[in-house]
Amino acid sequence: MRRYVLSRLGQVILTLLIYITLVYFLLQAMPGDITQMYLANPKVPQAAREELRKQLGLDQGVVMQYLTYVKNFFRGELGVSFSHYPRPVWDILMERLPRTFVLFLTAHVLSFYVGYVMGRVIAWRRGRVVDYAATVVGITFWTAFYPLLALVLIWIFAYTLRLLPLNQFIEPKLWQGAPFSANTVFGYMVYGGGAVAIGLFLIFYAFLRGLKRTRRNVALAWLSGSVLVAVALLAASRAGLLVYIWDIVNHMVLPVCTLTLISFAGTMLLMRDSMLETVQEDYVMAAHAKGLPDTIVRDRYAARTAILPTVTSLVLSLASSMSGGLVTETMFSWPGLGQVLFHSALANDYPLATGALAFTGVFLLIAHFVADILYAVLDPRIAYTGQPAAEG
């Protein structure tokens, strides 16, 4: 096991190095550099341009620049942004990460859940109307032109019906006197939400672990779960955070729903296919024969084993949520990592663009690794043999 992890880690680092090299030279090969921004202003003398090139290290050779970059990268320094000079790239990424993370994590989990539940249902009712309807509707949203769909939904829900806020991720009027920055609140949301989620999991696990869910246990689980949530909310409200969290949640509804709408079909269809295989397994038939209720057979027998391939896709999609969605962020004015990438590219800000891409790469690599391990945890049939799993 240890050898496996170590060799795998070596592979991860090597892959990362190659990835960064590729990203670096890919961006280097693009035409134009930051000093071209001065083209728009003829009053900037040549001397100032040269000074800038020197300041940004552009006067050195490409190879030299690359080596410096890699050295710094593994030290955790991503350099200084050109377009936000002299802000460190890391600083900008960290400013954007919490927002991106909260939005896309929520959206991916929700879309995964909806997809999983729907997939379960339509596989179970294969060939019925609900199967065809959900498949066609799902595919239609899955292949819908996202920016347009987002605009239409904004127009309907935020503009015409005025149910939800129009764009942005917070309401400036509420926040203008806020004692904390939005990122602090996002931070609380991540940590607090995580803690509550783990707490709830533990509570439900403790009370409902067995198969026989007595009324008393269910009631106790719900009761203590509610207490936990209430305590968390109370704490947030005492800290004066609640109204701000609420505001963020309020702004999240539309983008999260839109993202869910366009992406649930992926999980749904994957789940359906996967489950169509498992429903043919003998143990599902056996479960029926045992006289277990339909939903239990579906959820514990057919769906439980069918979930495995979808979990991999969930983990990978969570990782890609680090890179954010340019479209979502643009359409909903949610400035996150995707926007950083786009604007840095437009401004020829290579350190920032490279940094954002590299950052995403690291997360994806870690996610691949986690997916492997999670797979093993979920499927007791797979045990680590000390050998890398067969490719493919």
């Binding site: 003398p45 000074e51 377009s83 539940v117 605009l151 149910l163 806020p165 129009l166 764009n167 643009t330």
Partner: protein, 626 residues
Amino acid sequence: MRRFWKGILAGLLFVFLVAGVASTGFAGQGKLYEMAIFADPTTINLYSSLGPSSTVWNTFVSNSQYYTSLYGNAAPTWAFVPSAAADMPSPLKEEKIGDKTYYTSIVKMRKDIKWSDNTPLTADDVVFSYNAVLEMDPNKLGGNWPSIVDPTVLERVEKVDDYTVKFILKDKPGLSQWQYGVLQNYIVNKKYWEPIFEKAKKAADPVKELFAHEPEKQPTAGPWKFGHWEKGAFWQNVPNPVYSGKGEVTTFYENGVVTVENPKTGFKWQSGKPEGKVQLKITDGPDATGTLYRIFQNQSAAVLSLTGGQVDFVLNSLGLQRGFQEQLKKAPNVALIENNVNGFRFMAFNLRKYPFNIKEFRQAVATLIDREYICEKVLQGIAFPQYSVVPPGNAYWYNKDVPQWGKGLTRSQKIAEAVKLLKKAGFKWEVEPQVDLEKDKVLKRGKGLIMPDGKKMPEFEFMIMTAGYDPLRYTFGLNIASWLKEVGIPIEAVPTEFNVVSSKVFDEQDFDAFMMGWSLSLYPDHMKFFFHSEQAEPGGFNAVGYSNPDFDKLADDFVKEADMEKARQKAFKLQEILADELPYVVLFDTPIIEAYRSDRAQYPYTKVLSGLQYVGALTSTVKMLD
């Protein structure tokens, strides 16, 4: 299944709950003036915001809102007026200091201007604002600094007394360097900034250190000071409680005279003897209780917010697209403004190459392009034709009598005229184009253009914008190419990415022809930068390689000229030369369209070159209605 529906139901319920509780309307209330912008500003720091990471958004939210300068241009006429100064600078005087001869000028300052911490703005602040930048080296600060605190002109600034400063200049400056340059530098608070400069100077990279400082608490002398910045969401400014300009009245008279009068402090100034009617009277505020800049990532959302009443104005240096204009016309409580802009779009050839260096060839091209057709028909009035390198909107400097090639001619007349011009220069055809002037028809398209040197003209590339970048200019480019082809000019329009165009044109100077646009400053010294032969080397701005000794001399004289009226005559002459020689074939420009909430904001004026965005949407003179 049932559980699933329950889940959906619970989800919906949650959505409506959230919606019901939280969107209880933060729509326009109170006297908060709200504007939409489209990108995060990059910094609060004046030095970095005028430096290399200068963006228009920084200008909107901070620079002009916080700082004052000795002199400024009074919108909407752009008259040169004192602002922290009490009167016009004393005339430049030659003076020997040490063993060098300098030009000097004395500026008397107003005594009634206060910083937001209630300390007076004195000569010390002014001296510091100039000398600190000079010590830092404006070239190292980069961006706009070398053109504001121009080290080729300014030696240093000295304090004479608490409210008088003396400028010591290395050389006799022109208008652009003096009135439109040095004298308009922002004044910062010495007490606040001095330690920061001191610390920066000791750092390994002083510029980086200076730029990295975020002066959230600095005192300002303008109407606003920094309030709150939530990156990616909004920027908020709060009023300067002791703003000395409050209540100050600026009056514009028919004869161009501007008067300034502050009833509170008793300050008075006038540019001359007022005559005729009062054209405009502006009372400074601010009336709004604060300014809030909401940051949006897409224009549709910003405009939706405008009609929904969440913002009062959409700040965008490009204005609104025509589609919005048409849709906003009918929106209640939304008013539209249309203004000329200071810029132009043009087509240019590489004059280093044959036969593009033949003047008649370019004149023929200019004749063939039907700007009116494109602007009125294809672009339906969202663009206006332009012939001079100074746009008509810049009325003081614009020469309306420059040659306008092909204006008012029909298609066939244009072709006939172009053929005449080309023949004059010695061009021939394998198949000469023929037109029927009576019926305005092309009888025969030209083919095989033969250059005066007897060789067949090879096909050449005309770089135009890509359809994705700008569909309008893309279409215009395609149209130009098809007109030129009619007379047999072997042009091939190639949609090219902007980065590629600019690096081919400016860095490599390896191109045949291209289309591009400039936006300009008020003072038209761009004529020197774009066409002077000293700018012709790679990296310079005269990328087309225009070279005319007479023009060079006149251009040099023009930028050195310190007298407004004489400078104007020279600018007219320059325009004439350029319109005849055509190093640029000027094509058109688009007006700027803006919209605001008429039920919320009331502006002293809306007619101004480049629109209200150019004056930061008048945060201190807007009247907010409840």
